[in-house]
Each structure stands twice: as structure tokens, then as C-alpha cells.
């Protein structure tokens, strides 16, 4: 289905918060994030004639525009996230899927440690885990947004969790929350 202009604008505006949050995650800078969101909407408005509403709505389409925009900007500036092969990412993470080592439900100190552990993840993992955990995107939506196969989404998520588990286990031991 091809939405008319008014429908398109309404759908697009509904995703502003989602886009802003991902932009903050990608850029780690409020002003740059706002620029990125604005540029994403400009591109989306220009490209709206080619947009067709599908199963997951407009969200993956807008996220894909933003992700591509940021990737090309980062490459141009030779800063920010660089393309990293999954093999490289894999070597940085544990191959063994570990259960989460501690109770994450109510521990303020652990939240701080979790922030650090999350922020230490490679950007490719952060994007996936952000879309999965914060935006509650399905694997297929994440795959569409990042233009990677669904299997890559699942493996990145799996490895990100393994890595978090690894790091938080060490932190939990350091804090005396659990014993080795």
C-alpha cells in the first residue's frame, strides 16, 4: 500500500522518538543526533514517492535511512563506527552463550556497570541490542533496518548478550555480588 502524503507524514512523525534515540546511540552527541534526525527526515521526505507500506510499517525504512546516512557520514569523516566484519566481532565475544550471571532486576550499582558494559560493545552490537531492547523491534525489523540478514541479527544479539554476560560476571564478582 502506498500512503498518501498526509498519511506518510503522520507515520513518519510517529517514529521521531525512535529515530532520536537511535541517533543518540549512534552519535553519542545530542546536537549531532538532532542533525542526523533532521537529515533523515529530509531524505525520507525526498524519497517518499518510493515508499511502500509493508508489514512492519515505516519504522524499518526510516531506521535504514538513518543508519545508512550515519554510516556514510562516519566513513566520510573517518570517525565513528567503522565497518567491522562479524568474524572480528566474534573474536571479541565469547562463543559460549552464557546465562546472565546475576539478577538485573533491581540493582542500581549494576545498572551503572551495565551502562558501561553496553557502551563498551562494538557499535554494530549496540545498534542491534538497542533496537531489540529499547525499541522492541523484531529480528526481521532489525534486519531490514540495518540491511543485514536475519541470521546476522540473531548472532550479533547472541554474541552481545554473551559479551555482556562475561563482563557483568566479572563485575559482579568484583562487587562481591556473586562468588566465582
Amino acid at each position: 500500500m502506498k500512503p498518501n502524503r498526509a498519511e506518510f507524514e503522520k507515520l513518519a512523525l510517529e517514529q521521531l522518538d525512535t529515530l532520536y534515540r537511535l541517533a543518540r546511540r549512534l552519535t553519542r552527541n545530542a546536537a549531532t543526533a538532532e542533525d542526523l534526525v533532521q537529515e533523515t527526515y529530509l531524505r525520507a521526505l525526498k524519497a517518499q514517492d518510493g515508499f511502500v507500506l509493508q508489514e512492519y510499517g515505516i519504522r524499518p525504512w526510516l531506521l535504514r535511512i538513518m543508519h545508512n546516512l550515519w554510516s556514510s557520514t562516519a566513513q566520510r569523516q573517518k570517525r565513528g563506527p567503522q565497518a567491522v566484519e562479524d568474524e572480528q566481532l566474534e573474536s571479541a565475544a565469547s562463543n559460549v552463550p552464557a546465562p546472565l550471571p546475576i539478577n538485573l532486576a533491581s540493582n542500581d550499582a549494576m545498572d551503572e556497570r551495565l551502562v558501561k558494559a553496553l557502551d563498551d560493545l562494538p557499535p554494530e552490537y549496540q545498534s542491534v541490542i538497542h533496537l531489540w531492547a529499547i525499541e522492541d523491534c523484531s529480528y526481521q525489523e532489525i534486519a531490514d533496518a540495518l540491511e543485514v540478514p536475519i541470521g546476522t541479527v540473531m548472532s550479533r544479539l547472541h554474541r552481545a548478550r554473551a559479551r555482556l554476560s562475561q563482563q557483568l560476571h566479572g563485575l559482579a564478582v568484583d562487587e562481591g555480588i556473586i562468588r566465582e
Partner: protein, 264 residues
């Protein structure tokens, strides 16, 4: 890993990540800007989409009457857009003026407002920020177009930065005078849509007078703002005219390599 029934530790992890990273809403001013930008999508901006298929001799691509009918329709659409432009009528309630595409004007205004909020706009690392000639030389070499960096009568130079407009790098000089703020942007024309060389542009957008000129491959845009509306379009236009009349005779090729830096 099944998505059908999330395991309890998945839910727990999602909640913990939610707490750690937060789920912030977009700032209100960003929301206003995006909403305004959508409203300001003028026929001028959309006309580029209409024009593109016409340029490579469309009749060659069409067969018979159907092709002619489509071509005629496109020409009619282009004619309507052109007529709207010639009449100076814009669908935008906020943008007044001609020539400068609404979204580009919006991008200049956005950057002006965002940078005015900075405590210090001396943002160029490796360059003496208080030396306008040093700023001009370094940024000209970096952008590959002459950069306008000059004192402006009655205005206090408040610093320069590498700032993005329309997603592309520009040299942004900020000036202040009592409650008024003034920006002078230098940006390659190639970064912007629908800009032609040796032309003046004027517009007013959301209380911000803009006046620009294009020359020597660059677009030079002056943006003013005062909360009490004490800066007029005529003042900004006058400043633009002075900058244009004293345009720096800088040979970019002769400049030393600039200091590459990050644009915000």
C-alpha cells in the same frame, strides 16, 4: 533463539537495558523543527523531482499517444510549479522569500539556533579562533571554497566552528550584539540543492531573516535573530550586501592545507 515466547531473562535484560540507556523522547524543539520542516516542504523542493525525468529528452522514452500524454502531464505539473514560483507564492506558512529552498533555509536556521545555545562557539581546534584571517585561510582550504570571515560593524565576533548545514560541512561564524545573534555561513554550492552561482537569495523563516549570495562556488548565508524581532530583514540584507561587495579575493589553491576536523 525464539521470538515467540521471550524467556524471563530476556525480559529482565530488556528492562535492565531500558533502565541503563533510558527511553528518552525527542526534545520538543526538535519535534517542532521536524514538524515545521514537513510543513515547509514547498513546491520548489518537490519540483526537482518533477524536473528530473524531463531532462533527458523524454519523447524518446515514450511510445505513441500514451507517452505524449504523460509528457504533457509532466509539463503541466512543471508549469504549475513554475507559475507558483513566479508568483512568489509558497505553500509554506513560515517561509517568506524566494529562491532558497525551504529545507535549506530551515537547515541554516536550525544550525544558527543550535550554535547560539553553545556557551562558547570557538570550536576550531588547531586554529587561532580569534584571528578571522586564520579562520578564513584554514577553513577555505578545508572546504575548497573561499570562506567569508570578516569583522562586521557593530557586532562582536563570538567564534567560528565547523558546522553542518543540510548535512554538509560549512564554516560558521557567529556574532552577537546585545540580545541579537548573527551567523555567517560559507558552504560549497555543490553541497546544496538548487543553488546557482552569482545569485542573491532572501528569506524569512520563523522570525529569522536570511540573506545569501552565491559566488565562486560557495553559498554565503547571513542569518539573524532577536527574540524581540529587533533585527530586520533589511539589516541582514545590508550585511549580506557588504560581505558580497567585499568578497575575499582568495585563491583557494594557494592556501595552505587546512586543519581537518570534526563537524558538528
Amino acid at each position: 533463539m525464539s521470538q515467540m515466547e521471550p524467556q524471563s531473562d530476556e525480559i529482565q535484560l530488556k528492562q535492565a537495558i531500558g533502565r541503563a540507556w533510558g527511553k528518552k523522547a525527542a526534545p520538543l524543539d526538535l519535534r517542532n523543527r521536524i514538524t515545521g520542516m514537513i510543513v515547509q516542504q514547498s513546491p520548489a523542493a518537490r519540483s526537482t523531482v518533477l524536473r528530473m525525468p524531463l531532462s533527458p529528452a523524454p519523447s524518446l522514452n515514450f511510445a505513441g499517444l500514451a507517452g505524449l500524454a504523460i509528457a504533457a502531464g509532466m509539463l503541466l505539473a512543471l508549469g504549475l510549479v513554475t507559475a507558483a514560483l513566479l508568483n512568489g507564492s509558497s505553500s509554506s506558512p513560515a517561509l517568506v522569500g524566494t529562491g532558497l529552498p525551504g529545507e535549506v533555509a530551515n537547515s541554516f536556521v536550525y544550525r544558527h539556533d543550535a550554535c547560539c545555545q553553545a556557551k562558547d562557539h570557538h570550536l576550531l581546534q588547531g586554529i587561532n579562533n580569534d584571528s578571522l584571517s586564520a579562520v578564513a585561510r584554514a577553513m577555505s582550504a578545508e572546504l575548497n571554497v573561499p570562506v567569508v570571515a570578516t569583522p562586521i560593524d557593530g557586532w562582536l565576533f563570538a567564534g567560528a566552528g565547523r558546522c553542518r548545514v543540510w548535512g554538509y560541512p560549512s564554516a560558521h561564524l557567529l556574532y552577537r550584539h546585545e540580545g541579537q545573534t548573527l551567523s555567517v555561513f560559507s558552504i560549497p554550492q555543490s553541497s546544496l540543492p538548487s543553488i546557482t552561482d552569482n545569485r542573491d537569495y532572501e528569506a524569512t523563516l520563523n522570525g529569522h531573516p536570511l540573506a545569501a549570495f552565491s559566488h565562486a562556488g560557495g553559498l554565503y548565508c547571513v542569518v539573524g535573530y532577536a527574540a524581540d524581532d529587533s533585527i530586520s530583514p533589511a539589516q541582514v540584507k545590508d550585511i549580506r550586501d557588504k560581505l558580497r561587495d567585499n568578497f575575499p579575493a582568495v585563491a583557494v589553491d594557494s592556501l595552505a592545507p587546512g586543519v581537518a576536523g570534526n563537524y558538528h
